[in-house]
Amino acid sequence: MYEFDWSSIPGSLPLLAKGMGVSLEITFTAIVVGIVWGTLLAMMRLSSVKPLAWFAAGYVNVFRAIPLVMVLLWFFLIVPNLLESLFGIPRGSDMRLGSAIAGFALFESAYYSEIIRAGIQSVPKGQMAAAKALGMSYGQAMRLVVLPQAFRNMVPLLLTQAIILFQDTSLVYVSALADFFGTAAKIGDRDGRLVEMLLFAGAVYFVLCFAVSQLVRYYQKKLKTA
């Protein structure tokens, strides 16, 4: 039978906490970028200006057809070199980490845009018509009437997507970023206690994601009864 030895965990907690900080930072960046850029994409997709709608549809469909691992590898291995040769940035300036985070955010935006598009479409058409009849411009009607209602309906879905996104951040492992999981795996390798470290990491992810998903469920119930 395997002999467990959890002794390397307490000492490495500060490093793991730092890794968790990186994970949360990536999550937070991607959520903010995802919601802002996703909203723009959703509005483009619903816009009557055809080229904008095509661009948004193409963007979303391409990112949703490619695995996140591939997107991260593109942004980790290829995009930095491309930018260097395009803009003549001196070699050696390390953009790989920033690039990986950017790729991650651009990828998640495609998923956010689909949620937001459905949210905008869930607002009855009469709302937009009424706002326009009151003399609001398209931008005002969107900002003051349609989007606030759309976002209220979307909160549970956006939060669920945030949990998925948080889990997805573990994949920045392929770009050698020291997030929570990457740190845990590295410490496990170093101390020869990979089994304990991986179990610990799994437990931490489970507790966090489970807790937030229960909160979402609670909120959803409240929204329904309200």
Partner: protein, 246 residues
Amino acid sequence: MGYSWNWGVFLQPSATGDDTYLGWMLYGFKMTIGLSLSAWLIALLLGALVGVLRTVPSKTLSGLAMAHVELFRNIPLLVQLFLWYFVLPELLPKDLGDAFKQSHPVVQQFISSMVCLGLFTSARVAEQVRSGINSLPPGQKNAALAIGFTLPQTYRFVLLPMAFRLVVPPLTSEFLNIFKNSAVCSTIGLLELAAQGRQLVDYTAQPYESFITVTLAYVLINVVVMFGMRWVEARVRIPGYIGGGH
């Protein structure tokens, strides 16, 4: 931009000499397809079972099914994969663990990946099956019980024939996901599509050709699956239900 394109690189003999780089790509492509399809089989069978159990009156059974779903939904896929590949063989009884560790590395990687992807996806399939069953009018179950069907008969003859057809459209996106998620298995060294693409970058110094090819291969898989599923969806659509519903 000083990059020299060379699409002919795929026809060059590979670093190991016994194949071309195109051969490497095809091997990765076949691995991705084989892995995804076998994992999908596990996900479908187990997911259907767990999804049904979530709706049964027995608190124990539905509780167990719920635990299954929550466990596999709340741990990142990459972490699950590492747990299957690095941790489980250590925790198995010694004979079994040793037998696993002594088998061919490709076999180890493939089995871990298949089980991991299958169980990961089964939790998602189970949720779709559950919501399919719950979307049926409650009168159907009550009517079946009232005319003397036992509970298993009610499921077998009344609920499941409807629910399994309703659930096909939402399962399409899970089926697409399993192909994309299989790329995660490159992290334990399984030489599927994404891993081969990365290897080519290391061996040929033609990163663009390699990555563009791999990316297009995933898009191709996506398109083929989408059209295939559209055909299936049209065949199983229940007359009277617009678009199948959720």
